[in-house]
Chain length 636, copies 2
Amino acid sequence: MSRYAPVPFPQVKLEGQFWRERLDTVLDRTVPSQHRKLAEYGILDSLKLPDPPPPLRFPRHPNGFTVQVFWDSDVGKWIEAASYALAHRRDADIEAKIEAAIDDLEKAQAPDGYLNCWYLGREPDKRWTNLRDNHEMYNAGHLLEGAIAYFQVTGRRRFLDVMERYLDHIYATFGTGPGQRPGYDGHEEIELALMKLYYLTGMRKHLDFAAYLVNERGRQPHYFDWERERREAGEAKQRYVFANYEYSQSHKPVREQDKVVGHAVRAMYLYTAMADLAAELDDADLQRACEVLWKDVMDTKMYVTAGLGPSAHNEGFTHDFDLPNQTAYAETCASVALIFWAQRMLHLGLDGQYADILELAMFNGALSGLSRDGEHYFYANPLESDGTPTRWDWHTCPCCTMNVSRLVASVGQYFLSTAEDGVAFHLYGGIASQVEIAGTTVGLREVSNYPWSGEIAIHVDPQEPAAFAVKLRIPGWCEGASVTVNGTPIGLDIIENGYVTIDRRWAAGDVIGLDLPMPPERLYAHPGVIMDAGRVALKRGPLVYCLEEADNPGGRVQRLKLPRNAPLQPEMRTDLFDGVVTLRADATAIEETSFTQLYRTKPPKEAPATLTAIPYFLWANRGRGSMVVWVPEATA
Amino acid sequence: MSRYAPVPFPQVKLEGQFWRERLDTVLDRTVPSQHRKLAEYGILDSLKLPDPPPPLRFPRHPNGFTVQVFWDSDVGKWIEAASYALAHRRDADIEAKIEAAIDDLEKAQAPDGYLNCWYLGREPDKRWTNLRDNHEMYNAGHLLEGAIAYFQVTGRRRFLDVMERYLDHIYATFGTGPGQRPGYDGHEEIELALMKLYYLTGMRKHLDFAAYLVNERGRQPHYFDWERERREAGEAKQRYVFANYEYSQSHKPVREQDKVVGHAVRAMYLYTAMADLAAELDDADLQRACEVLWKDVMDTKMYVTAGLGPSAHNEGFTHDFDLPNQTAYAETCASVALIFWAQRMLHLGLDGQYADILELAMFNGALSGLSRDGEHYFYANPLESDGTPTRWDWHTCPCCTMNVSRLVASVGQYFLSTAEDGVAFHLYGGIASQVEIAGTTVGLREVSNYPWSGEIAIHVDPQEPAAFAVKLRIPGWCEGASVTVNGTPIGLDIIENGYVTIDRRWAAGDVIGLDLPMPPERLYAHPGVIMDAGRVALKRGPLVYCLEEADNPGGRVQRLKLPRNAPLQPEMRTDLFDGVVTLRADATAIEETSFTQLYRTKPPKEAPATLTAIPYFLWANRGRGSMVVWVPEATA
């Protein structure tokens, strides 16, 4: 099969209502408000290094917040998101703000290229002494992603030059050569950023260093042990809070890892880079490791929303089937990072199972992290609530905020891929693009009201008639899909790995009709997930649904029981959230007012009721209230 | 009504199979093994103070365990449990071990009476500088309870003298008089111990100091603030981990408290002393505060097992109806302490609702903390398990281990109360006693196989015929109780506050027949407890039941669904745990083997199955396996 590569987002114009609304919100509100928050919380000031450094090692910002070791990364991520925003609309104010941050970073950079504001401003002599905990390469990775994005959108090299100087310093310091230390970061991230730089520049040293970092990880003697032994004596007392290297996926070499463990975001960033390297180096072993890890997370560790990592303790994974709903951590960043990994896996062989998860994570676990107003967030994304948690307008660890804004601002990159002789549609929702295929420019316009409707029209307009393949993803959740070309049905016995391929000579004016029926469906969890026993989840198309108290007033939504055979009625509600398909069903409701005790022998009074479900990602936009994804089910 | 007071346990001989077995296990195995553990973990050594104290402030015991501020209390609690054991059977070896610990404590005591081994051995100049966190009075309280128990059983005063010297020092140091500090402990306990000493000695100063501690608590200016400001500058950095005074129930004066908050064991110990004081001082305000707090915990915060405190974070309470099952903390100590509180509340007015909870906590939340073999424990008592947690043979904070042993070794005290003119039976299970009522000695023998059966015979044998009241508790869970006297039924229209009163002239040979029908029953939780939506708990008599994998092999027990109308069949199983009544029912079972994915649209295959439930307190005695109290329910 030809090698397909994603079409970059600036070439994919979002026209559909769903993504256009989210994108406009992110451009109008999220990106500007995030800059205000970075200022308010002292994160931008933390780049302005005092000269000489202050005597205190851990000064607080005047606003009272402790300077955090990962703040450089937040600046990098904001620059990345803001740069993507500029690709949609240039904005002198945003550009000036980016330039000001780059000014500070350029000034902060040490003569030898080192650039970590936390260390430079506080403990310049301690740099590179604690890769395990202190995020130096992680920060470098996010700054690098910001620099790449800014360069790609504006053509301005200054930030990229700064980062390349920093990378040269890192490449000189770390490695397996003479006089080098075989270090790697406790928080993976730089690996995938280096792969982006490699794709941008074609310079082999970036690929090589990414490969070195991935391959060195978890080898014995363990770098983090060596490093700890060299730190001052005080370290002995400083117990490593996670007490194991599974936390950072460094418990063994990555090719020997077959279980997804530890901090969820760390894991996903690592696997993303592994998949990048597997593709670039045609490394079958590494690809197999990725596939084994993918299967492990899919079979035993993923929430139905594509949330990852049940535990707040390690922000990560525990044991198989441990997927508590109310206390789910399911960090927004982890679902965003799962999208990255899924995209890389998808492009290893265009297997639709990866696109299915990419789409699931996007519409559910990731998008739930951002409020409708674009200025409130979830860090943890529980699947059930008694009404206690609510969205916050910032977080002392604001990683998720910019992860979701950079995702939305660049979401176009997930829709299309092209090869020499074909184009593949992964996602639907209304896009327009111009791509080069088979030696001609092809205009593509996908028109739909997806995800609310599965009726899709795709206009294929080559400048010159040309023979090439159009591949259409038929989602794994879809049964009974049908395709027409210029009104003529084509057989779908040729679906392969989740894609139907239409190979023909295309000419301007050709129209593909794709119908993806999306009747509401029920999902049942593996009995190993004891939390979901006797419960059912509702889904329509790619959207997981939930019951929220705002639509089901009269008590906590967990009082509602859905009979197994009750039909689920989709209903387009234009009065809600600028248009949303809800699901309605006959249900029974436990009457709460008759309960005067905590426990009683009399079965709860139940009355017929109607149940209304909304897409999960929209929850917690109407004040506090209970919510449930896994609805108690009534069975005979 | 006459004032009823508990009959002390040495006067109540346990003859019934249920408690005899538990008592023998505690005497034979638990008390001796706990002494071995106290030695192994360095807790006994921590009483042996080096002279002079070592330069290191926080030395580790040679075995590697950090000396804990609360270790004195563990010694005190073991002496208390061991003394109760001696009351059942004298044992020279146990006595020698107690005496050895008393030797060490006597030697450790400072000339001015101060006696806290942690401070004396490490930071003698820092004593009384951190009542909020460091448990000095808490330790004193447990040592005092040990000294009282040892004195009561052996008549030996030495330990009590040591403790009275310590108390004189405390009374001189703390209070509202000139030159005194208005302090109280961050961990309540000494208050109830002082009440015991007051009951033993009749000395008013002990009552007064207990009343002072309770009344001073939570007043402004706050003692813990004053104390913190006086500590060294380093303190500023030491953030108070719980960051609020609700944790120690010192957020406001106790009479103004109307919500149960904070650390569960702290709360229960405080309320116990409050109820003691309310009774002793006829303090209606304090009694009302107790009643309001009782209602709050009963209506919104207690597990069906009488477990208390859902959260591991604060080892305590959160918000109303927050009762997660799998992550339930429900510390054994908290249920034991609830028994103490319930006993005090019961004796304020002989209201059976308190005895109901006392019994519920005893047979479920407390007894679950001790294994069948008497040497393994639960600190947290979850109501659901995927098979991960298991019992441990010790804990770095071993509070629960000795709390359950001292409870069982003195359980006789909860069965009977007497007044001038009557006797009240609270619990059943086979006891014999001799009490003084109405000027004569009355032999009492209650014969039953309770809690397995509700058929009870009570032999009332006064030396001289005498008129007095026999009060029998009719448990709140019981419907259709019947009573006979010498075979003649008596009407039960006179049940008052959960007790039937038989007022007559009793003569030797009189026999009361009491029948407490205990058909298995289903319990439903208030819909506010979202975790129990669609689930049902099973109970028979005072015992809450659970499904455990050992009795329901073939997968996790959460796969089983109990139809609402399926009869629950009690079955006496002599082959299990030396005899236990199980509950069996027809059920449906989800077949796990047909699940090849984590989520699927096809409803799980269900097959008819039989479900077997065992009493909750017996779980986790047969290796690892899943368990559930709240069983998924099948309803039409």
